[in-house]
Amino acid sequence: MTDISLSQRAVADSVPPATARAMRLPTHWLGVAPFFIFTIMFLILPTLYLMLGAFQNDAGEFTLENIAALSQPSIVAAYWISIKVSLASSLIGAFAGLAIAIAIVRGGLPNWIRSATLTFSGVASNFAGVPLAFAFLATLGRLGLATVLLDKILGINIYSSGFNILSFWGLTITYAYFQIPLMVVIIVPAIDGIKKEWGEAAATLGATQAQYWRMVVIPVIWPSFLGTVILLFANAFGAIATAYALTGSSLNIVPILLYAQIRGDVLHNAHLGYAIAFGMIVITGLANVFFIWFRTRSERWLK
């Protein structure tokens, strides 16, 4: 039976082979053509152009000098402060976000708190850039409300005790404002994925609450948690608007250095700009390779 139908189909297909192919190939690709032309022209080629430029000198010859020049102290310092701020804000964002997510999903709080928190998280995770910097200047700047109230009511002058909004910690606290809600938005579905039956099954088998958390909940959440940490890291690492509006160019993070280089070639070497961009892609790219890897591991559990 199958043999006959197969051969019949083969015959039917083979009747107009040339015309069918010629007609089919272009229309087959027509629907996805705009997408591929657009992304190749405006996403992939510009990126490749910079990455190749990082390995060329002004005469267009291959060189590793630009990459080697990244080791000058000012550039290394910029990468280092960027990595520190991104790591700190993503870890703070991840743990605080996880705590909030567990509290609203499993904490036995009223239902409206869960939906209100999720709605607010959607807004706050998109409230970044220049306005966020203004909000934190109004809060923790020298004349900000929190600064003034802490001084008046508790007698704590945070500025005389060394705090400055234009610093590593200032930037980290500000970034946490979009990092924490982003974590909440991503991790709540993962926590929802922990089925009630698992807790009951663990209890039936005699597990204590601590054992249930250590041996069931944490292993299940862990991969998507780590994956989100890396996403948050990349998110903070490429951000520039908040830092630029907050600190001007006084805090020398990599995106601000690259911004200054694009505007006015402050490093006096066009190809060094390409190398800085290349370094940023390598760092966020590595972070995302981990993200995809952890993601595939966590999806195994949640189906």
Partner: protein, 263 residues
């Protein structure tokens, strides 16, 4: 259980404090412009500023064109992949994730070097061309969100059956996409559109490096030169973001019903 709930309240309270104090502080600061009394002077100054109106109008226009461009690129591709080329899905999903990996500043740096006035495609030679390049850049930034929104929308409808039914009734491809598929995923497309709007309206990096008179660079400029107006602008921006997200939530309530409607 009791202690669990106690800690849940503590965590929620701390979180609420961290998220609400900056908003309260910003509102308070924005109303301090008149000496000795709270007033809405800063808002009046900001909203009455011609540069505010111009840059805001420019960014709204850029956002609308970005949404149109994004829909034109994403909807046919996502539809076609569901219908005919499922083997391309992993590649397309990978490409749509790239804008999350490659920072916006790197993408725009690439544009400046590749599409300068001396290049074969001199986008940057004219103002209109630069506007177009900015919209293109925004569409690239919004690509991950737009693609995911549209793909989720397509998942709720039976693309194949709808397409075949339309073909039997004699519809061409344009009719199928504009009159059968698009109305069915309209809510998903609108969700993607509002998210795109929220991202584009205050975007700073690309607009600033392409020297366009957009809202983001205007915000930065006000922040560097004024005291109370930035706080008012931050509140306005927060309200805009809030509005976009609320519209997405309201739309998502309509989504399943309209998608599963049998006619």
């Amino acid at each position: 259980m009791k202690t669990g709930r106690f800690w849940a309240w503590v965590v929620f309270g701390l979180g609420a404090a961290y998220f609400f104090i900056p908003l309260i502080a910003t509102v308070e600061f924005s109303m301090r412009m008149r000496r000795g009394a709270y007033s809405f002077d800063a808002y009046q100054v900001v909203l009455g500023d011609v540069r505010f109106q111009q840059t805001f109008g420019y960014s709204v226009l850029a956002a609308i064109f970005t949404i149109i461009l994004g829909v034109l690129i994403v909807v046919p591709a996502a539809y076609w992949i569901r219908l005919r080329l499922p083997q391309l899905r992993p590649i397309v999903e990978f490409i749509t994730l790239l804008p999350l990996v490659i920072p916006a500043i790197v993408i725009v740096f690439g544009y400046i070097r590749m599409y300068g006035s001396n290049s074969p495609l001199p986008f940057l030679a004219t103002d209109r061309g630069t506007d177009l390049l900015l919209v293109i850049g925004y569409a690239t930034l919004a690509l991950p969100y737009m693609y995911r929104a549209v793909d989720t929308g397509l998942r709720t409808i039976d693309v194949r059956t709808l397409t075949e039914a339309a073909q039997i009734l004699g519809a061409g491809w344009t009719t199928i996409i504009t009159r059968v598929i698009l109305p069915n995923v309209l809510i998903a497309v609108l969700s993607g559109a509002f998210l795109t709007f929220a991202i584009v309206i205050g975007e700073f990096t690309m607009a600033s490096l392409l020297n366009r008179p957009a809202f983001g660079p205007y915000l930065q400029n006000i922040g560097a030169n004024r005291a109370y107006e930035p706080a008012a602008l931050a509140i306005i921006a927060f309200v805009i973001t809030w509005g976009c997200m609320s519209l997405i939530q309201i739309l998502s309530r309509f989504a399943p019903r309209s998608a599963n409607r049998p006619n």
